[in-house]
C-alpha cells in the first residue's frame, strides 16, 4: 500500500520514513541536465557514469570496520595490514583496483594503516583537498572536507579533537597524518578493554568511521558516530 507525505506532516507521526521528497527540485534538474550535456559533449560516457555510481554506492565504512576487527583478532593478518594494506584488503574482499582496474582517479592505490599505541594516537586529514581512503571508509563526512577541519587540525590537534569530545592525555603523543596525492591513511585504534571474548562481528560494530579517522575511540556500547548540531547563539540577521 502506498502512502504520500505532504509538507508540514511530521515524520515522527508516520509509520515509515518516506524514501524521498515528492517534488522535483531545481537542484535535481540541474544535476541531470549538466550530466546529460557532459555525456553529449563526450566528457565521459553514460557507462562510465553508471560504473562509478555503482561503485560509489557499494563503498562504506563497514569494510574498514571489518579490517580493524580482523586485525585485532588475528595477529598475522594485522602484520600483513601494517606491511601492505592494499594487498591485505583483498583478504576482506576490498580491491583497490576497482572500478577501473587501476582504482579511481581520487583513490591512489597506496594505503598505510596507522596503528595506535598506549603512547601514540593518530588522526588523519587532507590539508590540500579531501583525500580519504574511500574503498575502506566510503565517502568522507562533510566536516572532513571543510577548510575549518583541514586548517586547524594540523595546528591545534588536541583542541580540534576535544571539539569532537576526544580528550587525549598529555602523555600520549598526537600524530596528524596528512594525506596527499600519493598516499592514503587510515587509523587502526587500540582494541578497548572489556572486549576479550567478543567475535569479529561484535568488534566491527564499535569500530566506527570516526574511530578510523582518529576523532573518536572505540568502546563497548558506542556503535554510531553522532555529531549533534549546535545552533548559533548569535545567528546572522537577514
Amino acid at each position: 500500500m502506498s502512502h504520500s507525505h505532504k509538507p508540514g506532516e511530521s515524520g515522527a507521526d508516520l509509520p515509515h520514513a518516506a524514501p524521498t521528497v515528492e517534488e522535483i527540485t531545481d537542484f535535481e534538474v540541474l544535476e541531470i541536465a549538466v550530466r546529460e550535456l557532459a555525456i553529449e559533449h563526450g566528457l565521459f560516457t553514460a557507462e562510465d557514469h553508471r560504473r562509478f555510481t555503482e561503485w560509489t554506492e557499494s563503498i562504506g565504512p563497514a569494510a574498514g570496520s571489518r579490517l580493524v576487527a580482523k586485525a585485532w583478532t588475528d595477529p598475522a593478518f594485522k602484520a600483513r595490514v601494517l606491511d601492505d594494506a592494499v594487498k591485505a584488503c583483498k583478504e576482506i574482499g576490498i580491491d583497490w583496483a576497482e572500478p577501473t582496474g587501476f582504482g579511481t582517479p581520487s583513490d591512489y592505490m597506496n594505503l598505510r594503516v596507522l596503528e595506535d599505541t598506549p603512547t601514540l594516537h593518530h588522526v588523519i586529514v587532507c590539508t590540500l583537498c579531501s583525500c580519504y581512503p574511500r574503498p575502506l571508509l566510503g565517502m568522507s563526512p562533510e566536516w572532513y572536507r571543510t577548510t575549518n577541519y583541514r586548517r586547524r587540525l594540523v595546528r591545534w590537534p588536541r583542541q580540534v579533537l576535544a571539539e569532537f569530545g576526544l580528550i587525549i592525555p598529555p602523555e600520549v603523543e598526537v600524530r596528524v597524518e596528512d594525506s596527499n596525492q600519493k598516499c592514503r591513511f587510515m587509523v587502526m585504534p587500540m582494541r578497548p578493554e572489556g572486549t576479550d571474548s567478543w567475535t569479529e562481528e561484535q568488534l566491527a560494530e564499535i569500530v566506527t568511521r570516526d574511530c578510523m579517522i582518529g576523532v573518536a575511540l572505540p568502546r563497548p556500547g558506542r556503535t554510531a558516530d553522532v555529531h549533534p548540531v549546535h545552533k548559533a547563539r548569535h545567528p546572522v540577521q537577514e
Partner: protein, 118 residues
C-alpha cells in the same frame, strides 16, 4: 592556508536563481516530507560525475577541489553542503567552457518538462 585556484568567482545568473532557493535545499525539504535520508537522491550521481570528469582528464580532482574551496568561501558560502558542491561543480564547468550556460538553461527546462510529464 591560501586557496589557489584560477576559477572566476563572479556570480553566474543561471546558478544565482538556484542559490536563492534556500527553501528547496535538502536539509529544509527532507523533514517536511518525513524523509530521513541525509542526502538527496542526486548526491551519489554527483560524486560519480566528479570521478568521471577526473578519470577522463577533463577536470582533475585537485583542480576541482581547489575551485570548490574558493567558491565555497565566496559565492556559495550560504548554501548547504550537497547543493553547494553541485553549484560549485557546475560553476567550474561553465567557467572552463565544458558546458554552455544557455545550453544548460535550455536543457534544464527540457529535463523538468520530461520529469513532470512522467
Amino acid at each position: 592556508m591560501s586557496i589557489k585556484s584560477d576559477v572566476d568567482a563572479s556570480r553566474i545568473e543561471l546558478l544565482e536563481a538556484l542559490r536563492n532557493k534556500k527553501e528547496k535545499t535538502w536539509d529544509v525539504l527532507a523533514p517536511q516530507y518525513g524523509v530521513t535520508n541525509p542526502n538527496p537522491p542526486w548526491k551519489t550521481s554527483l560524486a560519480a560525475m566528479c570521478d568521471c570528469l577526473a578519470d577522463s582528464g577533463k577536470l582533475p580532482s585537485l583542480d576541482r577541489r581547489n575551485a570548490e574551496d574558493k567558491l565555497a568561501e565566496s559565492v556559495y558560502r550560504d548554501v548547504p553542503a550537497p547543493e553547494r558542491q553541485l553549484l560549485a561543480l557546475v560553476h567550474i564547468m561553465l567557467n572552463r567552457g565544458l558546458v554552455d550556460e544557455s545550453d544548460l538553461a535550455a536543457r534544464m527546462r527540457a529535463v523538468r518538462s520530461r520529469l513532470e510529464s512522467a
